[in-house]
Symmetry: C2
Subunit: 176 residues, 2 copies
Protein backbone atom coordinates (compact mmCIF):
# COMPACT_ATOMS: atom_id res chain seq x y z
CA UNK A 1 0.00 0.00 0.00
CA UNK A 2 1.15 3.53 -0.71
CA UNK A 3 0.92 5.43 2.57
CA UNK A 4 1.22 9.22 2.98
CA UNK A 5 2.72 10.26 6.33
CA UNK A 6 1.89 13.95 6.89
CA UNK A 7 4.55 15.60 9.00
CA UNK A 8 5.80 19.00 10.25
CA UNK A 9 8.26 20.21 12.89
CA UNK A 10 7.67 19.25 16.50
CA UNK A 11 6.21 15.81 15.75
CA UNK A 12 6.20 13.41 18.71
CA UNK A 13 9.34 11.39 18.08
CA UNK A 14 8.17 7.85 18.84
CA UNK A 15 4.67 8.39 17.45
CA UNK A 16 6.26 9.08 14.09
CA UNK A 17 9.22 6.70 14.11
CA UNK A 18 7.76 3.48 15.47
CA UNK A 19 4.66 3.27 13.24
CA UNK A 20 6.74 4.54 10.27
CA UNK A 21 9.25 1.72 10.74
CA UNK A 22 6.49 -0.84 11.31
CA UNK A 23 4.63 0.19 8.15
CA UNK A 24 7.80 -0.13 6.07
CA UNK A 25 8.78 -3.44 7.64
CA UNK A 26 5.32 -4.75 6.70
CA UNK A 27 6.09 -3.88 3.07
CA UNK A 28 4.18 -0.63 2.72
CA UNK A 29 5.60 2.26 0.72
CA UNK A 30 5.54 5.30 3.03
CA UNK A 31 6.11 8.86 1.72
CA UNK A 32 6.66 11.78 4.09
CA UNK A 33 4.47 14.62 2.83
CA UNK A 34 4.86 18.11 4.32
CA UNK A 35 4.74 21.82 3.74
CA UNK A 36 8.07 22.09 1.85
CA UNK A 37 9.94 19.35 -0.03
CA UNK A 38 13.43 18.76 1.35
CA UNK A 39 12.67 20.39 4.70
CA UNK A 40 14.53 18.77 7.62
CA UNK A 41 12.14 18.16 10.49
CA UNK A 42 12.94 17.60 14.15
CA UNK A 43 10.92 15.73 16.71
CA UNK A 44 9.68 17.61 19.77
CA UNK A 45 11.96 15.57 22.06
CA UNK A 46 14.97 15.96 19.72
CA UNK A 47 15.41 12.19 19.35
CA UNK A 48 14.23 11.77 15.75
CA UNK A 49 14.61 13.68 12.52
CA UNK A 50 12.86 13.27 9.19
CA UNK A 51 13.00 14.84 5.73
CA UNK A 52 9.91 15.96 3.84
CA UNK A 53 9.97 13.93 0.61
CA UNK A 54 7.07 15.62 -1.13
CA UNK A 55 5.24 18.89 -0.58
CA UNK A 56 1.43 18.80 -0.52
CA UNK A 57 1.56 20.77 -3.76
CA UNK A 58 3.71 18.03 -5.42
CA UNK A 59 1.25 15.18 -4.86
CA UNK A 60 -2.43 14.34 -4.97
CA UNK A 61 -4.38 12.25 -2.45
CA UNK A 62 -5.23 9.94 -5.40
CA UNK A 63 -1.59 8.76 -5.44
CA UNK A 64 -1.99 7.18 -1.99
CA UNK A 65 -3.98 4.30 -0.54
CA UNK A 66 -3.78 5.29 3.12
CA UNK A 67 -2.86 8.14 5.46
CA UNK A 68 -0.78 8.19 8.66
CA UNK A 69 -0.92 11.28 10.96
CA UNK A 70 1.71 11.24 13.77
CA UNK A 71 1.15 13.37 16.90
CA UNK A 72 3.01 16.10 18.77
CA UNK A 73 2.78 19.68 17.52
CA UNK A 74 3.04 18.64 13.88
CA UNK A 75 -0.75 18.35 13.33
CA UNK A 76 -1.47 21.90 14.52
CA UNK A 77 1.29 23.25 12.25
CA UNK A 78 -0.15 21.31 9.31
CA UNK A 79 -3.77 22.32 9.84
CA UNK A 80 -2.78 26.00 9.69
CA UNK A 81 -2.35 25.33 5.96
CA UNK A 82 -5.56 24.75 3.93
CA UNK A 83 -3.74 22.56 1.37
CA UNK A 84 -2.84 20.10 4.15
CA UNK A 85 -6.42 20.09 5.44
CA UNK A 86 -7.81 19.44 1.94
CA UNK A 87 -5.30 16.60 1.46
CA UNK A 88 -6.49 14.90 4.66
CA UNK A 89 -10.15 15.50 3.83
CA UNK A 90 -9.77 13.60 0.53
CA UNK A 91 -8.86 10.35 2.35
CA UNK A 92 -12.07 10.54 4.37
CA UNK A 93 -14.17 11.32 1.29
CA UNK A 94 -12.90 8.09 -0.31
CA UNK A 95 -13.03 6.06 2.95
CA UNK A 96 -9.35 5.23 2.64
CA UNK A 97 -7.57 3.91 5.76
CA UNK A 98 -6.42 6.66 8.14
CA UNK A 99 -4.21 6.20 11.21
CA UNK A 100 -4.08 9.20 13.61
CA UNK A 101 -2.45 9.34 17.04
CA UNK A 102 -2.30 11.88 19.89
CA UNK A 103 -2.75 15.41 18.42
CA UNK A 104 -3.36 13.86 14.96
CA UNK A 105 -7.16 14.27 15.24
CA UNK A 106 -6.63 18.08 15.34
CA UNK A 107 -6.39 17.87 11.54
CA UNK A 108 -9.59 15.81 11.46
CA UNK A 109 -11.32 18.65 13.34
CA UNK A 110 -10.01 21.16 10.78
CA UNK A 111 -11.31 18.89 7.98
CA UNK A 112 -14.65 18.28 9.75
CA UNK A 113 -13.78 14.57 9.47
CA UNK A 114 -14.45 13.76 13.14
CA UNK A 115 -18.21 14.18 12.68
CA UNK A 116 -20.15 11.02 13.38
CA UNK A 117 -16.98 9.05 14.14
CA UNK A 118 -15.95 7.01 17.15
CA UNK A 119 -12.39 7.98 18.03
CA UNK A 120 -9.78 8.80 20.65
CA UNK A 121 -6.92 11.34 20.85
CA UNK A 122 -4.49 13.00 23.30
CA UNK A 123 -6.45 14.01 26.40
CA UNK A 124 -6.54 17.75 25.62
CA UNK A 125 -7.80 16.97 22.11
CA UNK A 126 -10.40 14.57 23.54
CA UNK A 127 -11.67 17.59 25.50
CA UNK A 128 -11.76 19.74 22.32
CA UNK A 129 -13.64 16.96 20.50
CA UNK A 130 -16.18 16.68 23.33
CA UNK A 131 -16.65 20.48 23.40
CA UNK A 132 -17.27 20.45 19.63
CA UNK A 133 -19.70 17.52 19.86
CA UNK A 134 -20.90 15.22 17.09
CA UNK A 135 -18.22 12.55 17.67
CA UNK A 136 -18.17 9.56 20.02
CA UNK A 137 -14.98 10.31 22.00
CA UNK A 138 -13.59 7.42 24.00
CA UNK A 139 -10.54 7.14 26.24
CA UNK A 140 -8.86 3.87 25.29
CA UNK A 141 -5.51 2.81 23.80
CA UNK A 142 -6.87 2.23 20.31
CA UNK A 143 -10.20 2.78 18.58
CA UNK A 144 -11.09 1.27 15.20
CA UNK A 145 -14.08 2.85 13.45
CA UNK A 146 -14.35 1.48 9.92
CA UNK A 147 -11.39 3.04 8.05
CA UNK A 148 -10.16 5.12 11.01
CA UNK A 149 -7.66 3.94 13.65
CA UNK A 150 -6.89 6.37 16.51
CA UNK A 151 -4.75 6.25 19.66
CA UNK A 152 -3.97 8.65 22.52
CA UNK A 153 -0.25 8.73 23.35
CA UNK A 154 3.18 7.05 23.04
CA UNK A 155 2.20 4.22 25.42
CA UNK A 156 -0.53 3.21 22.96
CA UNK A 157 1.85 2.77 20.00
CA UNK A 158 1.94 -1.08 19.99
CA UNK A 159 -1.89 -1.25 19.85
CA UNK A 160 -1.95 1.56 17.26
CA UNK A 161 0.51 -0.29 15.01
CA UNK A 162 -1.30 -3.63 15.45
CA UNK A 163 -4.71 -2.25 14.45
CA UNK A 164 -3.28 0.01 11.75
CA UNK A 165 -1.50 -2.86 10.02
CA UNK A 166 -4.61 -5.03 10.32
CA UNK A 167 -6.68 -2.32 8.60
CA UNK A 168 -4.16 -1.94 5.76
CA UNK A 169 -4.12 -5.70 5.18
CA UNK A 170 -7.89 -5.70 4.77
CA UNK A 171 -7.91 -2.93 2.18
CA UNK A 172 -7.31 -3.61 -1.52
CA UNK A 173 -4.54 -1.25 -2.66
CA UNK A 174 -4.75 1.36 -5.42
CA UNK A 175 -8.23 0.45 -6.50
CA UNK A 176 -9.94 3.75 -5.88
CA UNK B 1 -0.29 44.70 39.91
CA UNK B 2 0.75 41.15 40.69
CA UNK B 3 0.60 39.25 37.39
CA UNK B 4 0.83 35.45 37.01
CA UNK B 5 2.43 34.37 33.73
CA UNK B 6 1.54 30.72 33.14
CA UNK B 7 4.24 28.98 31.13
CA UNK B 8 5.46 25.55 29.93
CA UNK B 9 8.00 24.29 27.41
CA UNK B 10 7.55 25.25 23.77
CA UNK B 11 6.17 28.75 24.45
CA UNK B 12 6.37 31.12 21.50
CA UNK B 13 9.53 33.08 22.25
CA UNK B 14 8.46 36.65 21.44
CA UNK B 15 4.89 36.19 22.67
CA UNK B 16 6.32 35.46 26.11
CA UNK B 17 9.35 37.77 26.22
CA UNK B 18 8.04 41.02 24.79
CA UNK B 19 4.85 41.31 26.89
CA UNK B 20 6.76 39.98 29.95
CA UNK B 21 9.36 42.74 29.59
CA UNK B 22 6.71 45.38 28.90
CA UNK B 23 4.68 44.40 31.97
CA UNK B 24 7.76 44.63 34.19
CA UNK B 25 8.88 47.92 32.67
CA UNK B 26 5.42 49.30 33.45
CA UNK B 27 6.03 48.43 37.10
CA UNK B 28 4.01 45.23 37.38
CA UNK B 29 5.28 42.32 39.45
CA UNK B 30 5.23 39.25 37.14
CA UNK B 31 5.66 35.70 38.47
CA UNK B 32 6.24 32.76 36.12
CA UNK B 33 3.92 29.98 37.29
CA UNK B 34 4.29 26.50 35.82
CA UNK B 35 4.07 22.78 36.39
CA UNK B 36 7.28 22.43 38.42
CA UNK B 37 9.16 25.14 40.38
CA UNK B 38 12.72 25.65 39.15
CA UNK B 39 12.05 24.03 35.76
CA UNK B 40 14.06 25.59 32.94
CA UNK B 41 11.82 26.25 29.95
CA UNK B 42 12.78 26.78 26.34
CA UNK B 43 10.92 28.70 23.69
CA UNK B 44 9.76 26.86 20.57
CA UNK B 45 12.19 28.83 18.39
CA UNK B 46 15.09 28.36 20.85
CA UNK B 47 15.60 32.11 21.24
CA UNK B 48 14.31 32.58 24.79
CA UNK B 49 14.50 30.65 28.04
CA UNK B 50 12.62 31.11 31.29
CA UNK B 51 12.57 29.55 34.75
CA UNK B 52 9.38 28.50 36.51
CA UNK B 53 9.37 30.53 39.74
CA UNK B 54 6.34 28.93 41.36
CA UNK B 55 4.46 25.70 40.73
CA UNK B 56 0.65 25.89 40.51
CA UNK B 57 0.62 23.90 43.76
CA UNK B 58 2.76 26.60 45.51
CA UNK B 59 0.40 29.51 44.84
CA UNK B 60 -3.29 30.44 44.81
CA UNK B 61 -5.07 32.59 42.22
CA UNK B 62 -5.98 34.93 45.11
CA UNK B 63 -2.33 36.01 45.31
CA UNK B 64 -2.54 37.59 41.84
CA UNK B 65 -4.40 40.52 40.31
CA UNK B 66 -4.06 39.52 36.66
CA UNK B 67 -3.13 36.64 34.35
CA UNK B 68 -0.91 36.51 31.24
CA UNK B 69 -1.03 33.45 28.93
CA UNK B 70 1.70 33.41 26.23
CA UNK B 71 1.23 31.30 23.12
CA UNK B 72 3.10 28.52 21.32
CA UNK B 73 2.75 24.96 22.55
CA UNK B 74 2.87 25.98 26.20
CA UNK B 75 -0.94 26.38 26.58
CA UNK B 76 -1.68 22.84 25.36
CA UNK B 77 0.95 21.43 27.76
CA UNK B 78 -0.56 23.41 30.63
CA UNK B 79 -4.17 22.47 29.96
CA UNK B 80 -3.30 18.78 30.15
CA UNK B 81 -2.99 19.44 33.88
CA UNK B 82 -6.27 20.09 35.78
CA UNK B 83 -4.51 22.25 38.42
CA UNK B 84 -3.45 24.68 35.67
CA UNK B 85 -6.96 24.78 34.23
CA UNK B 86 -8.48 25.48 37.67
CA UNK B 87 -5.92 28.24 38.25
CA UNK B 88 -6.94 29.97 35.01
CA UNK B 89 -10.66 29.46 35.68
CA UNK B 90 -10.36 31.35 39.00
CA UNK B 91 -9.30 34.58 37.22
CA UNK B 92 -12.42 34.46 35.07
CA UNK B 93 -14.66 33.74 38.06
CA UNK B 94 -13.41 36.95 39.71
CA UNK B 95 -13.34 38.97 36.44
CA UNK B 96 -9.64 39.73 36.90
CA UNK B 97 -7.70 40.98 33.85
CA UNK B 98 -6.54 38.20 31.52
CA UNK B 99 -4.18 38.60 28.55
CA UNK B 100 -4.02 35.59 26.16
CA UNK B 101 -2.26 35.41 22.81
CA UNK B 102 -2.05 32.87 19.96
CA UNK B 103 -2.65 29.35 21.42
CA UNK B 104 -3.37 30.92 24.86
CA UNK B 105 -7.16 30.60 24.41
CA UNK B 106 -6.72 26.78 24.33
CA UNK B 107 -6.63 26.99 28.14
CA UNK B 108 -9.78 29.13 28.09
CA UNK B 109 -11.49 26.33 26.13
CA UNK B 110 -10.36 23.79 28.74
CA UNK B 111 -11.72 26.09 31.49
CA UNK B 112 -14.96 26.77 29.59
CA UNK B 113 -14.03 30.46 29.91
CA UNK B 114 -14.52 31.30 26.22
CA UNK B 115 -18.30 30.96 26.51
CA UNK B 116 -20.14 34.17 25.73
CA UNK B 117 -16.89 36.05 25.10
CA UNK B 118 -15.68 38.06 22.13
CA UNK B 119 -12.11 37.01 21.40
CA UNK B 120 -9.43 36.12 18.89
CA UNK B 121 -6.61 33.51 18.82
CA UNK B 122 -4.13 31.80 16.48
CA UNK B 123 -5.98 30.84 13.30
CA UNK B 124 -6.20 27.10 14.08
CA UNK B 125 -7.59 27.90 17.53
CA UNK B 126 -10.06 30.37 15.99
CA UNK B 127 -11.32 27.38 13.98
CA UNK B 128 -11.59 25.23 17.14
CA UNK B 129 -13.48 28.06 18.89
CA UNK B 130 -15.89 28.39 15.95
CA UNK B 131 -16.45 24.62 15.87
CA UNK B 132 -17.22 24.66 19.60
CA UNK B 133 -19.57 27.63 19.29
CA UNK B 134 -20.83 29.98 22.01
CA UNK B 135 -18.08 32.59 21.52
CA UNK B 136 -17.85 35.57 19.16
CA UNK B 137 -14.61 34.74 17.32
CA UNK B 138 -13.07 37.58 15.36
CA UNK B 139 -9.90 37.79 13.27
CA UNK B 140 -8.18 41.02 14.28
CA UNK B 141 -4.88 42.00 15.92
CA UNK B 142 -6.35 42.61 19.34
CA UNK B 143 -9.77 42.15 20.93
CA UNK B 144 -10.75 43.68 24.27
CA UNK B 145 -13.86 42.17 25.88
CA UNK B 146 -14.25 43.57 29.40
CA UNK B 147 -11.40 41.95 31.40
CA UNK B 148 -10.11 39.82 28.50
CA UNK B 149 -7.48 40.93 25.97
CA UNK B 150 -6.64 38.49 23.15
CA UNK B 151 -4.38 38.54 20.08
CA UNK B 152 -3.53 36.14 17.28
CA UNK B 153 0.21 35.97 16.61
CA UNK B 154 3.67 37.57 17.04
CA UNK B 155 2.86 40.41 14.62
CA UNK B 156 0.05 41.49 16.97
CA UNK B 157 2.32 41.87 20.02
CA UNK B 158 2.50 45.71 20.03
CA UNK B 159 -1.31 45.98 20.01
CA UNK B 160 -1.55 43.17 22.60
CA UNK B 161 0.85 44.97 24.95
CA UNK B 162 -0.85 48.34 24.42
CA UNK B 163 -4.34 47.05 25.28
CA UNK B 164 -3.07 44.75 28.04
CA UNK B 165 -1.29 47.59 29.85
CA UNK B 166 -4.33 49.84 29.42
CA UNK B 167 -6.55 47.18 31.05
CA UNK B 168 -4.15 46.73 33.98
CA UNK B 169 -4.04 50.51 34.58
CA UNK B 170 -7.83 50.60 34.81
CA UNK B 171 -8.02 47.84 37.41
CA UNK B 172 -7.56 48.51 41.13
CA UNK B 173 -4.90 46.07 42.38
CA UNK B 174 -5.32 43.47 45.11
CA UNK B 175 -8.81 44.52 46.04
CA UNK B 176 -10.60 41.28 45.33
Amino acid sequence: MKVACVLANGFEDSEFKQPYDALREAGHDVTIVGLQAGQELKGDKGRETATVEKAFTDVTPQQFDALFIPGGFSPDRLRANPVAVDFVKAFFEKDKPVMAICHGPQILIAAGAQKGRRLTAWKTIQADLKAIGGADVVDQEVVVDRNLVTSRQPGDIPAFIREGLKLLEKEPAATR
